[in-house]
């Protein structure tokens, strides 16, 4: 792991510790944040209520009556030294296929409704994103978006919303600014993008990310009806790998019927993700990951 600046430790009032590993996003720093939060969770410290990994940082919510702030800080610093000296480069996780109907009429209707909050009054968000990234067409943007897998680098904002970071070199990252002013409405299961992060809106609500399409597959199910939610109402966990697949309206409706019938399951396979192998040959590694998803 390359040397980086020391982490920044800071108190969020008397009940939160925030550790900023880096101000910039990278796979390496996200791996370090994941490793530290897992190692901290393994310590099962009394008084630690929530351990929340984020993209390049993490948040610990604690009860200072049970664990004093300086005791907690010492524990976290110890964990950081452990992870620095023996970086965990392997992640046991799964790869999941998320079907997306890109450029669909629902998304475009929402985008049109909030055009006064957007950088570009003409066209839709997909056309804006293609132009922003110097691509000739929306088809080319969709090919890039659905071509390489993404890592779930954080879950949050609202219940079960995954932040996704594409597993390609920095030069090939798709980047778009957020809306000038956030929308007051976003349909559930909209596939969004802001900065370098993709997301899937888990519930209906406000949002500032650009909108590219919609998935028919629920990712948050408080009724826990579908098989993928038997254990918990939230589908995504930090570390999950995601492959977006472009689908058409007919397939969108078919999956919608499977969801209504309660039979839908995400296509997914368990996999071990090795950061060093990936960094050595990203394209080959991604191709191998997709073969795992296809069960080959």
């Amino acid at each position: 792991m390359s040397a980086r600046r020391p982490s920044r430790y800071s108190w969020g009032g008397d009940e939160h510790l925030v550790v900023q590993l880096d101000e910039a996003m990278s796979l390496e720093v996200n791996f370090a944040a994941t490793a530290m939060t897992r190692a901290l969770a393994d310590r099962q410290l009394a008084g630690v209520a929530d351990i929340c990994p984020a993209n390049a940082s993490f948040l610990v919510r604690f009860d200072p009556d049970v664990i004093a702030p300086d005791v907690l800080e010492a524990q976290v610093r110890e964990v950081e030294r452990e992870v620095e000296s023996a970086p965990s480069l392997a992640l046991r996780t799964r790869i999941v296929e998320v079907p997306v109907w890109y450029d669909d009429p629902y998304t475009n209707e929402t985008a049109a409704r909030f055009r006064d909050r957007h950088q570009r009054p003409e066209g839709n968000d997909l056309e804006f994103a293609a132009a922003e990234n110097g691509l000739a067409s929306t088809e080319e943007f969709i090919a890039r978006h659905s071509g390489s897998p993404w890592l779930t680098s954080m879950v949050g904002f609202v219940a079960g919303l995954p932040f996704l970071y594409q597993m390609v070199s920095r030069e090939r990252q798709l980047q778009v600014p957020k809306y000038l002013r956030p929308r007051t409405d976003t349909p559930p299961l909209t596939v969004g993008h802001g900065g370098c992060f993709a997301c899937v809106y888990s519930v209906r609500g406000a949002g500032g990310y650009q909108m590219f399409g919609v998935t028919p597959a629920p990712i948050f199910d408080p009724t826990q009806t579908l098989g993928d939610f038997a254990d918990f109402m939230v589908f995504f966990r930090p570390g999950d790998l995601v492959k977006f697949t472009a689908i058409d309206e007919r397939r969108y409706r078919e999956i919608g019927e499977e969801v209504s019938a309660g039979t839908f399951r995400f296509r997914q396979q368990e996999v071990e993700f090795r950061l060093d192998d990936f960094l050595a040959a990203p394209d080959e590694y991604n191709a191998a990951l997709l073969e795992v998803l296809d069960g080959r």
């Binding site: 879950v155 600014p177 408080p222």
Partner: protein, 321 residues
């Protein structure tokens, strides 16, 4: 025994002390925005302080009790009427089967709490009866209350006529000092930006709910820089990170937002300070127009304030046990 909602008032929901352990997947604690008042309402009617109550903002609900019960109303100052006759707040009151509780206009504070002996017996979801409306779960059918809803009540045995003395009720004011711990991403502000944060008398806007409280009054200046990769182009943007409860973020440098108990768990706006836990109830009792100043304190002072609040809680608990 049940409580029927004749009219829901505004944004009324079922809340207890909230849930822990799911913030890492974006599920906030929820629970009463004024924990002290909801806890005291429960103590008054002989409940565990963590029992579920009705929380309502700005406008009281109209409730009917199907059987005899003991109830208490705490929180903001709002005349309570039992079958049209005034009854005191911060005091346990017996209600007959079929009696109706309604409210006059809010006089001070922002939120009231209605506890019923036995507690509201809605299903426990992820360890709590609190409503999380964004996630559509918890409380009564995962949503705010509507006319016609019938809330089941557990069995309890409260005593009428118990009350809380004035000095153990929250002071409700339209001028509020909030103690904050500076930090998080405050290094992104210029000296002038930090001074603006601390020297401005901020005014609470109408955008104030269980998720967050938005203030107006000034513009914070950020340090100019090339933004780190992935953060987004605005100087107030950061690579999306976890948001502490009570943290103050300032999108675009205007209109600071204090996150409360239904907080969004993370996002891409720089947070510059966090309201200490002892002052979060005070935020919850702020109504639009409340003049608010942020007073920086070191962590030690935040902890001392926490201990004072806990001592006050023990005092009221002993009084009512």
């Amino acid at each position: 025994m049940a409580v029927e909602i004749v009219a829901p008032g505004l944004a009324a929901s079922v809340q207890d002390r909230g849930r822990t352990g799911y913030y890492d997947v974006g599920i906030p604690p929820s629970g009463a925005v004024d924990l002290y008042s909801s806890g005291v309402a429960n103590l008054l009617v002989g409940n565990d302080p963590g029992a579920a109550v009705v929380e309502a903002a700005y406008m009281g609900p109209h409730l009917r009790f199907t059987e005899r019960a003991v109830v208490a109303v705490t929180g903001g100052r709002m005349p309570a009427l039992l079958d049209g006759e005034p009854v005191p707040q911060w005091e346990s009151v017996e209600v007959a089967a079929g009696a109706e509780l309604s409210f006059g206009y809010l006089e001070a504070g922002a939120r009231i709490y209605v506890a019923v002996s036995g507690g509201l017996d809605v299903p426990v979801v992820l360890g709590s009866r609190s409503t999380y409306t964004l996630g559509s779960f918890g409380g009564f059918e995962g949503r705010v209350l509507r006319a016609g809803d019938v809330l089941p009540v557990g069995t309890g045995s409260g005593t009428a006529g118990r009350s809380v003395p004035e000095e153990l009720r929250p002071a409700l004011s339209k001028d509020v000092d909030l103690r904050v711990v500076l930090g998080l991403y405050d290094y992104r502000l210029t000296e002038r930006g930090l001074a603006t944060l601390l020297d401005t008398t901020w005014t609470l806007t109408p955008v104030a709910d269980r998720i967050g409280f938005r203030y107006s009054g000034g513009t914070l200046e950020w340090q100019d820089r090339e933004q780190p990769f992935g953060a987004g182009s605005d100087l107030s943007n950061i690579v999306d990170a976890g948001y502490p409860l009570g943290s103050i973020q300032v999108p675009g440098g205007v209109e600071p937002i204090i996150l409360h108990r239904d907080a969004v768990s993370g996002g891409g706006y720089a947070m510059v300070a966090t309201v200490i836990s002892a002052d979060l109830d005070l935020v919850g009792q702020s109504s639009p127009g409340t003049r608010t100043r942020f007073r920086p304190v070191p962590l030690e002072e935040a902890l001392a304030a926490r201990h004072e609040a806990a001592a006050r809680w023990r005092q009221v608990r002993e009084l009512l046990s």
